[in-house]
Amino acid sequence: MENSSEDYKIQSFDMDTQKLLKTALKDPGSVNLEKVSNVLVDQSLKDPFFSKEAGRICFTIVQAEAKQNNGAVFRRHLLNRLQQEFKQREETRKRSLQEWVCYVTFICNIFDYLKVNNMPMVALVPPVYDCLVRLAQPDALLNEEEVDCLVLQLHRIGEQLEKVNGQRMDELFFLLRDGFLLQEGLTSMARLLLLEILEFRAGGWMLSSTAHKYYYSEISE
């Protein structure tokens, strides 16, 4: 079964780049994988939509390279680039909230998709937690963009994260409770999001049907 390129959501790239990516998917050994990883990372930092979806194409390229020649060049470049950006995250956040949010979304997406022998990459667990904890800080909770990012990531990977490090998840949720209860200046949307995620986790990373009705039934198209 062949995935059409729409599955990778690469429509936002220019045609040449799309071609490069498609080639990388089919024949990774023939392209400059460092360049490919940079292209993907750069776009993920700019494009909120792509940052949510980039994990899949990255995963496929990693698989393709491993299958073709047992290589891990792409993965290595990708991870090291992620690490670089991680080191500068505070500056990034100051410079551009959107880029920071894109970064967190992207790294969580990678964590979700790029598994090693079907297990999450242990090396990414601390930085992912660091990012989420940053989003739970008082100054961040004031920004709906950051709260929204935080709850989205917890929905997607919270359960996995908790399995690999339950203690840090507990600490994160202390912050969220505090934020919900004590933080002044939160928008009502932010408080709604926080309440929902608190219930979500309390319910074992899912919402009861009544809770689901409460939070979601009134969303209109």
């Binding site: 020649n69 060049v73 690490q83 242990v122 090396a123 990414l124």
Partner: protein, 262 residues
């Protein structure tokens, strides 16, 4: 095992790098990308930029692999090693059962001496990781690629065809390193054609082998020390070797520790 401890061993591996001619037939270049098959730029940047199968580029020799790329690769290798161990344990248990029945005559099974009663396997993770790295290093060569394409596993003859050392067996450090070295030397027979030699047959390349490098002849068998109780296992490869146009003959003949030729 702390990162530093493991990293120090990685440092060991790097300092113990082999002769430069091996880098000629490396499948991957220094930046990790595949090399073309043509005779390549020769190394000697080998000292400053040492590539292992796991790294795409120069890695700091002072150990601490704190970059995420390396951490993930290490993690992957560790999981792989543990998975291999489980598989191996199962294989031993299975073989032990059938081997007891077959202990009658000379030949042992293909798992020659792998599974003898009471013998424990190597379980120290640091050791296994180090050995796995050495094995990966050897498999990351054009020679190995060509070898496995040319000789399917079931066609391999012990003694003639190189066999990957078994990382789960108990060996001394010296013995293991020697096995790896001999294995790598044997693999050179499948090196891609170099610029100056016309033929690339096995016999052609054997002459280029530095026979002084070869101390023991126990290439595919456990060292004699391990196998003192099973001299019969040596007969199998010998007889098969004689049937063949054995390109490894010069090597075997040079120093024979085996009992009389059958």
């Amino acid at each position: 095992m702390s990162n530093r401890h493991r990293a120090a061993r990685i440092g060991d591996l790097k300092h113990g790098s082999g002769p430069s001619r091996w880098s000629q037939c490396r499948k991957r270049g220094i930046d990790g990308s595949l090399r073309s098959h043509s005779d390549e730029d020769i190394d000697d940047s080998r000292h400053s930029s040492f590539t292992t199968p796991e790294s795409a580029g120069p890695v700091s020799r002072c150990g601490r692999q704190s970059d995420w790329g390396s951490q993930v690769e290490d993690e992957e290798m560790r999981r792989g090693v543990h998975r291999d161990m489980q598989r191996y344990r199962r294989r031993i248990l299975a073989a032990e059962g059938s081997q007891r029945e077959r202990k009658v005559s000379s030949g042992s099974s293909g798992s020659s001496c792998d599974s003898r009663d009471g013998e424990s396997i190597e379980t120290d993770e640091a050791v296994l990781m180090r050995r796995q790295k050495q094995i990966s290093y050897g498999k990351n060569t054009l020679a190995y690629d060509r070898y496995i394409k040319e000789v399917p596993k079931h066609m391999r003859q012990p003694g003639v065809h190189p066999k990957t050392p078994n990382k789960f067996r108990k060996y001394s450090r010296r013995s293991w390193d020697q096995q790896i070295k001999l294995w790598r030397v044997k693999l050179h027979a499948w090196d891609p054609p170099a610029e100056d030699s016309q033929e690339n047959t096995l016999s052609g390349n054997i002459e280029e082998l530095d026979l002084e490098d070869i101390v023991d002849i126990e290439l595919d068998f456990p060292t004699l020390a391990d196998c003192q109780n099973a001299p019969s296992s040596l007969q199998v490869p010998r007889s098969s070797a004689q049937d063949q146009d054995c390109f490894a003959t010069p090597v075997k003949v040079q120093k024979t520790e085996e009992p009389d030729v059958a």
